[in-house]
């Protein structure tokens, strides 16, 4: 593992990263219960076990940066600083949600934080992030655009198109692959003939692979990648090897996974690792977890109490100036 960022005390830095991971874990753990209770409409895809990627990458970002994420994007948006209350209301389909209950889990966004949305289409956020990186370049914002994607998206053509364009134009695009080994219900080894490293090399893009369950390793690599991008040497591919604990979607019994593999997932838990590291530094994480627990519980209660959206208001959001007439 590479050394950590200069000038920041290691315990403080790791504590901040842990706090982000704990928030993601507790929000998603709450969602498993809410989903089981029928309090979350539709379906959700959880990133439990993959929190280190979200926390580590987000720690390298500046306010002007932007990101596009995936159907499994709760962690990324929370790590970026999305309001937990607005997030929870959105996932639970309430009018007070960040997107007024129009999008839910797969479309949650906060443009004021440069979050260009989770996405229900595998790989679709990648070229959107490319465009955002082009805008950063054109507007000279000094910003970086991040495209989060899973290993399943390696088989999508838009990744290849994006790598080509971003390399041609040296766009400030950080391509973060969360490689959990699973393309929905199939092992990625049966889905993709190449390696991401080879793909990056083919286009002349920088590439780094890290232990995606080590939050410091991810953070260090993301800081290095972002710095390179801000110097004009894009794009940068960061492959984070991580672990999907839950199913493709919540409620997926995962019958297609080997029992031994499923049992071993907890051995790689990024929170357990960070907790042990912090304990060795003399930092007790119990108080952090408790405070976040209260925050999440309050967000859930507020969401439960919030109003449900109405079709009359929702239809007004289709165009900037609502069409004069909408017929049933």
């Amino acid at each position: 593992m590479k050394s950590s960022k200069k000038g920041t005390a290691q315990p403080e830095r790791l504590t901040a990263l842990y706090r982000t991971m704990s928030l993601i874990r507790q929000v998603e753990t709450a969602l498993t219960r809410l989903f089981a209770n029928g309090e979350v409409p539709g379906f959700i895809h959880l990133s439990i076990g993959q929190e280190a990627v979200a926390a580590g990458v987000a720690s390298a970002l500046l306010p002007q940066d932007s990101l596009a994420t995936t159907h499994r994007g709760h962690g990324h948006v929370l790590a970026r600083g999305m309001d937990v209350g607005g997030f929870m209301k959105e996932i639970m389909g309430r009018e007070g949600g960040l997107c007024k209950g129009r999008g839910g889990s797969m479309h949650v966004a906060d443009l004021s934080l440069g979050i260009l949305g989770a996405n229900g289409i595998v790989g679709a956020g990648i070229p959107i992030a490319l465009g955002s990186a082009m805008a950063h370049q054109a507007r000279k914002t000094g910003g970086v655009a991040v495209a989060f994607f899973g290993d399943g998206a390696m088989a999508e053509g838009v990744l290849h198109e994006t790598l080509n364009m971003a390399s041609l134009w040296r766009c400030p695009l950080l391509l973060v692959c969360e490689n959990n080994g699973w393309s929905e219900f199939s092992p990625t080894s049966s889905q993709f003939a190449a390696k991401l490293e080879q793909l990056a090399a083919a286009f002349g893009a920088s590439y780094t692979r890290v232990d995606g369950n080590s939050v410091l390793a991810v953070a260090d690599a993301a800081v290095q990648g972002a710095a390179q991008l801000r110097e004009g040497n894009g794009p940068y591919v960061l492959e984070c090897i991580t672990t999907r604990v839950r199913g493709h979607f919540e409620g997926d019994a995962q019958k297609y996974r080997d029992a031994n593999e499923l049992e071993s997932v907890h051995a790689h838990d990024p929170l357990t690792t960070a907790r042990a590291e912090l304990l060795a530094m003399g930092v007790d994480t119990a108080a952090i977890d408790q405070a976040i627990c209260a925050q999440v519980e309050a967000a859930v209660e507020a969401a439960r109490a919030d109003a449900l959206p109405t079709l009359e208001r929702a239809i007004q959001d289709v165009y900037t100036q609502a069409m004069q007439e909408t017929r049933a």
Binding site: G101, R102, G114, A124, G157, V158, Y319
Partner: protein, 326 residues
């Protein structure tokens, strides 16, 4: 100084791009061969020299990523104008258009919008064959969140493109490759509103509802019919989504007969929506069934002889009008 000059349809497009780019630094043009080559149909000729490669961007042949990148640019403070060389190629851009551009504003609860324009030429007449001649505007008009415009003359090409670029929502700007050389007066001071039709010719006996290249076909048919004592009113929709229902129903209330004409395949086309609306809301005004003149249900052909048979012609429009007035 007069702001009116005669120009070709293609030059009206270029002029609108140029004027928008001069006024708004966030407007960029991107697409395959739009910079160095000036565009496959020369609609972007000269823009590279004036605005440079940062604002006139030659892209690889990657219609999917180009259109998606435009969405990302639009969400990050730019106003991209994408050119897709032939409308048939939007098949490769459909995720960006249908799932991303059209829905972002709605899905995000109105937090922002996607101010992008996608320019693309549709239509036949050049023996370009089944994959370079299609009119796919009905697909786009079917998607909530997209606007679809289709100018029939140089003036509208100019004014509507300016309106499209100024619009905060994604606008599909559909040109016609066989009309690029058409000449007409263009007043650059004239503005247009998306969703507003134009009465291209007044008449009292029948309403011809149309858009794009078939506006000119209908005007010729109307002139011929006039010699036979039948006065057709030609309504140029100009915009398909939203479309000017009020203008169509108002014309119908004067003529009591209608024929809907477009180059696209008739089945499940734009005409079907218009006829259904007339049946719904204009039924009491009708003195005859509403007819449609459009392409048969087959791919756009290649051979000249086949293309002639496939196309909407003056004779076919006149036949339909005679039938509705019989």
């Amino acid at each position: 100084m007069s702001t009116t000059t005669e120009m070709r349809y293609v030059n009206a497009v270029t002029q609108a791009l140029r004027d928008c780019m001069e006024q708004d630094l966030t407007v960029v043009v991107m697409g395959e061969d739009v910079a160095n080559a000036g565009g496959s149909f020369k609609a972007t000729r000269g823009l590279l020299d004036t605005f440079g490669p940062g604002r006139v961007i030659d892209t690889p042949i990657s219609e999917s990523a180009i259109a998606s990148a435009a969405v990302g640019m639009a969400l990050t403070g730019m106003k991209p104008v994408v050119e897709i060389m032939f409308m048939d190629f939007i098949t490769l851009s459909m995720d960006a258009l249908v799932n991303q551009a059209a829905k972002a504003r709605y899905m995000f609860g109105g937090q922002g919008s996607v101010p992008m324009v996608l320019r693309t030429p549709h239509g036949g007449g050049l023996s370009a064959g089944p994959q370079h001649s299609q009119c796919l505007e009905a697909w786009l008009a079917h998607i909530p969140g997209l606007k679809v415009v289709c100018p029939s003359c140089p003036q509208d090409a100019y004014s509507l493109l300016r309106a499209a670029i100024a619009d905060p929502d994604p606008v599909m700007f559909i040109e016609h490759k066989a009309m690029y050389a058409n000449k007409g007066e263009v007043d650059t001071a004239k503005t247009a509103r998306i969703g507003e039709a134009r009465i291209a010719r007044a008449g009292r006996d029948v309403t011809l509802v149309t858009y794009g290249a078939t506006v000119n076909v209908c005007l010729k048919a109307a002139d011929q019919l006039g010699k036979e004592g039948m006065e057709a009113e030609v309504v140029d929709l100009r915009s398909i989504q939203p479309w000017d229902k009020a203008a169509v129903l108002e014309s119908l209330s004067r003529t009591h007969r209608a024929v809907v004409v477009h180059e696209a395949v008739q089945a499940f086309g734009v005409g079907a929506e218009i006829v259904a609306t007339i049946a719904d809301e204009g039924f009491d005004e009708l003195d005859a069934p509403v007819l449609r003149v459009a392409a048969p249900f087959m791919p756009a052909p290649f051979a000249s002889s086949l293309e002639k048979g496939y196309a909407v012609t003056v004779d076919r429009v006149m036949d339909a009008v005679r039938k509705t007035l019989a």
